[in-house]
Symmetry: C2
Subunit: 131 residues, 2 copies
């Protein structure tokens, strides 16, 4: 079990990188808000699964490289901020999205996950026009 909010978010990202969405979702509260800032917010683990699952399924390998991560508080009530490059491999090609993430933690679970990025950069990544 993670000991700190920092550990919890690192474990969450590690589960995403293993493409183990089932395990990743156990780290979110049932009513977790998942906010992709320039696109919009969904609420609840089912909605996170519906949003993230098909996206991750489109790739052969995922790496979310955390450049910096800093946290406040405890697992009871905490906040984690990080700076990442989210990398997605399809065949021989890696596609990269620079992201800054915010995670609010309550009672040992992530209750809000908010990612800041450029929408157009994501869309060009999705249609394969940038790597």
């Amino acid at each position: 079990m993670p000991a700190t909010p920092d550990d919890l978010v690192r474990d969450f990202i590690a589960a995403v990188e293993r493409l183990d969405l089932d395990h990743a979702l156990t780290m979110l509260s049932d009513d977790c808000r998942y906010d992709n800032v320039p696109i919009g917010e969904v609420v609840g683990t089912d909605a996170v699964r519906s949003t993230l699952g098909p996206f991750l399924n489109g790739y052969d390998e995922v790496q979310w490289v955390v450049h910096h991560q800093a946290a406040l508080g405890t697992l009871r009530e905490g906040v984690v901020l990080n700076e990442r490059i989210d990398r997605f491999r399809k065949g021989d090609e890696w596609h990269e999205l620079p992201v800054a993430g915010v995670f609010e933690v309550h009672a040992g679970l992530i209750t809000l996950w908010r990612d800041y990025f450029d929408r157009d950069t994501l869309f060009r990544l999705l249609d394969g026009s940038i790597t």
Copy 2:
């Protein structure tokens, strides 16, 4: 004088909010990198002044509301991450940009300032089509 990287970034933001760019720039290293992720990076305090000055001059009031801020390290070598709403008032209208910022600190100065946001949201803010 600020005692921590957290204080330094708060002092920097306070100077920006006072529209005191001269004072704000004293908190950046001469070779500071200022990276607006979806637009590009400039290097050096003169370039920061050229980028930020005309932008700030277009507004009557500026508030950068920090929702969360967390830091690592010391003023000698540290990192600060924050989540903000940058608000800009022109006449009666406030324009808002959600931002996540990363600040690297060395020897008491900010050596890298990187803001994550949606480029299209900024451009619509600049042309007045969103508030």
